[in-house]
Subunit: 287 residues, 4 copies
């Protein structure tokens, strides 16, 4: 990793005694000043262990390598997985989008304003419509049409493009109306965040607003989750709802829902960029 002076340590593993002390010692010996630390064990008697620490390291060029060595030893001894992250290295993000613009524009705006610390590698779309939005912000936009028949080729082209752009640390489906294949997910080499326009598991699948209106619900929502090959079943990162009434028809629900979609997606992306989202099986720990 690179060597700025703000770093994060992330650990997910089966719970056992002494992990916190071992890690805290390694940090202390590196002169790190921990500014925030969150830890959660799913079950005191042998469950899962998740930890996130953020800390300042003086003289990172020399000390981070030492820290990495210590962490490696601890990991081996305690059989744990860890990640040491340079908090000043911006994650590289590819955004997938179709025709709805609200999530894309929202993400680009937050990025432009400096609220989302990321580099946007490119925007990929199965439609040409939103090229103008990407252009406004000087972000590359690639139009790769997708049909039922051409999907494997289209996904191969997407992966190739990603590689050509130097890869991504995160893919964001900002209302990308195609299901990514298990193959794509296996090969993309980065987590994929999707926004589903309903409060999952309610109205999983297509046309959630139409079905929400038909069902007469009094709240509509949105769900940001990691995409997995089980459609709409991936680990949930963030959800929110907004109150509606009989006055709103399905079209109005969709319009109102757009506000909660973009907020929920932005929050999920932000938490991911800050390494706040850890996995315990198919559930997330959001520190």
């Amino acid at each position: 990793m690179s060597r700025s002076n703000l770093a994060r340590l992330l650990v997910s593993c089966p719970d056992r005694e002494g992990i916190v002390a071992a890690l805290a010692n390694a940090l202390a010996d590196s002169g790190a000043n921990i500014t925030s630390s969150d830890q959660f064990s799913s079950d005191p008697l042998g469950g899962s262990f998740s930890l996130r620490m953020e800390f300042y390291v003086p003289e990172p060029e020399t000390r981070i390598p030492l820290l990495e060595q210590r962490l490696g030893e601890i990991a081996e001894k305690l059989d744990l997985e860890y990640k040491l992250v340079d908090a000043h290295v911006r994650k590289r993000v590819a955004i997938f989008v179709s025709k709805y613009d609200h999530c894309l524009i929202d993400l680009l705006g937050r990025w432009h304003r400096g609220d989302l610390e990321m580099d946007i590698v490119m925007v990929v779309s199965n439609h040409p419509d939103l090229a103008v939005e990407a252009a406004r912000f000087g972000v590359p936009y690639h139009h790769i049409p997708v049909t039922k028949e051409s999907k494997p080729q289209a996904e191969a082209a997407q992966l190739e493009l990603l590689q050509k752009h130097g890869g991504a640390d995160l893919v964001v489906m900002a209302r990308y109306m195609q299901v990514l294949s298990a193959d794509f997910l296996a090969n993309v080499g980065a987590p994929v965040i999707n926004i589903h326009h309903s409060f999952l598991p309610a109205f999983a699948g297509a046309d959630p607003y139409k079905r929400a209106h038909h069902r007469g619900v009094k709240l509509i929502g949105a769900t940001a989750h990691y995409a997995t090959e089980d459609l709409d079943e991936g680990p949930i990162i963030e959800q929110d709802v907004v109150r509606v009434s009989h006055r709103e028809d399905a079209i109005a629900l969709e319009r109102i829902g757009a506000d909660v979609e973009r907020l929920v997606l932005a929050r999920a992306v932000e938490r991911h960029l800050q390494d706040r989202v850890l996995l315990q099986g198919h559930r997330t720990i959001v520190f």
Copy 2:
């Protein structure tokens, strides 16, 4: 109807021209002073029409009968269904409950405090546990055990009890953990409000908190709806949610959810008591 000076007019029918004028004229001719009026048409071109008006009538003993006559004529002419309600007549409510006490206690407390304008006819339970709660408030409590085999007899006994108590205008299932049969619903002669401990249609059926925890949702909710023979499919009156995190296990979700259950049920009952809930097909209009 009885004749206090505060009344409500409720109308649900296919939409057509001139309904509001005809009704407003009838009220004006009766000297009524409308204090609040809500009307909603699902579709300007031939949809459903719903209206609720609340008004004061001076000299109600003589004028309400005249108003009723006028409304009858309008109903015949315009082929509409209406209800004229004396707002000072408290609805008679029977509460069905099992072992969870939070909804029952909440309803009894609000009733006792004067916040829910209703008369509680009786509390019926398939368990003896909550008799003490009803006793505190001087409300009759009837324990009618229910098993798979005895359900028809138990429901017959419930209906008989209701009749003996003079009938009810509303039945509230305050976490009554039995499914009411289609027969019961057909014969009870009153709407039935149920509280489901999830944000429907998510986690319909049994054990919603356990399933919510397993799914890793970030919000849990509750849904108050009219009971129909399609379990958990009746018209939704009110819903709300509360934020949770990975820290809460299924038991904590249940405990936290109890707060939103009782709030949602109380709001639904209150709106029903105030004749604010009208039906358009299987959707509610909540004025």
Copy 3:
């Protein structure tokens, strides 16, 4: 007024008997089909009366003038003020802004997407920074610097500009960081909506996020209100809040608050454009 077939009738006056009937008759006689109607009286015994009706009128070219005549007669007889609005005539809106871009961009985006039915007359700013945003959407942008000394001249220039552009039906202060003088408000000839970046009356005045952080509040909010010469005291149209914690410093609160500011402002503008906001003294009725 112009003559499309969707119209709205708005009435605010002291309450008295028979208003609803008189108005409903006038509408019925014009062949109007009321699709939604809301009425509220502050007090059954002589309070304020507010009403909003939305309706379709066939052959509006001939019937709307007849309706206007009837309404005029009723207004005189019952001493009430009314407005008949062509719902298809888009209101002309001028947006005032300073340097913060989130509210402006949000309004422009909603307008561009067709979610806010208005015509944007121009954007006025005391800074040149956001000209590029207006340009993107093809909206005129006028930079009128304001200093303590030049304020009267600046406001005169703003009013002149408005006139040159044909006037406005609504002025929106989208984080315009100047206080409009009583003179300006008296002469602008249109209501002015302001967004205050706190949950009023908490943290009225300057630097609300800094003060909110210092006070350690657990929710921050925003308030959209009509501007009056009493700063931050005008009638409140809409408010909302978002949860925060000790983790957020004043800068983070400002960033998070921007989301609730733009939502609250957009909702207030939308309700105003739909003629849903009526005044009873210094309080709003939001139908």
Copy 4:
């Protein structure tokens, strides 16, 4: 402290390097298994440090004393304040109340249901009205009238009562409509949580619902805070709001507000009982 096997360590101090490691080592050497850990530093360069750890200790009778010794040494060396809490020892709580019953009944209900892990020492009131509620749950109720003149004597009597009951770890003002004097607060020897029936700092002082109605706010709220001698200025623990509209008069606001008051108070009390609330100056850290 007593010696069950679940304990909590709480630390508040000026931030400096190595605290987490020193504490984690002390815990590890005691065989503790940390199940949850939260730490927050207000400023990486010399701000305040707050930490809460929850952990299991096997053989607590012998190991907790060793841990205490280690913590004492660390505290001296690093000049920090800490508290080691036996998580199974229920805090002793005295509830102060006047005539409004909703917060008292809510707290008693949660306690009775096992949701709030505390022992209720007594209920003190300046009115006799709610004695019946305390009696239902078998909790001592003391009526100590308070007038302007008798306040010093009344407070002395309250303190004496507390002492006679063996003291309290927490005092909860559950809508106790008297201001506690600085003297009382200095001598009570326990933190005092108050519930204010508004979203502070809005509507601090008397009659918040009346003033909220007059101001036409669209949300009303409640604030739980530690009582200090500066009325309504103590550190905020929890806040929440509920949406209202023009339809609600001041009396309805009060009724609706009661729901949010009791929820907010219950949450604040629960977090305090779980030692989740730490102080950094006049702001709370709520882990």
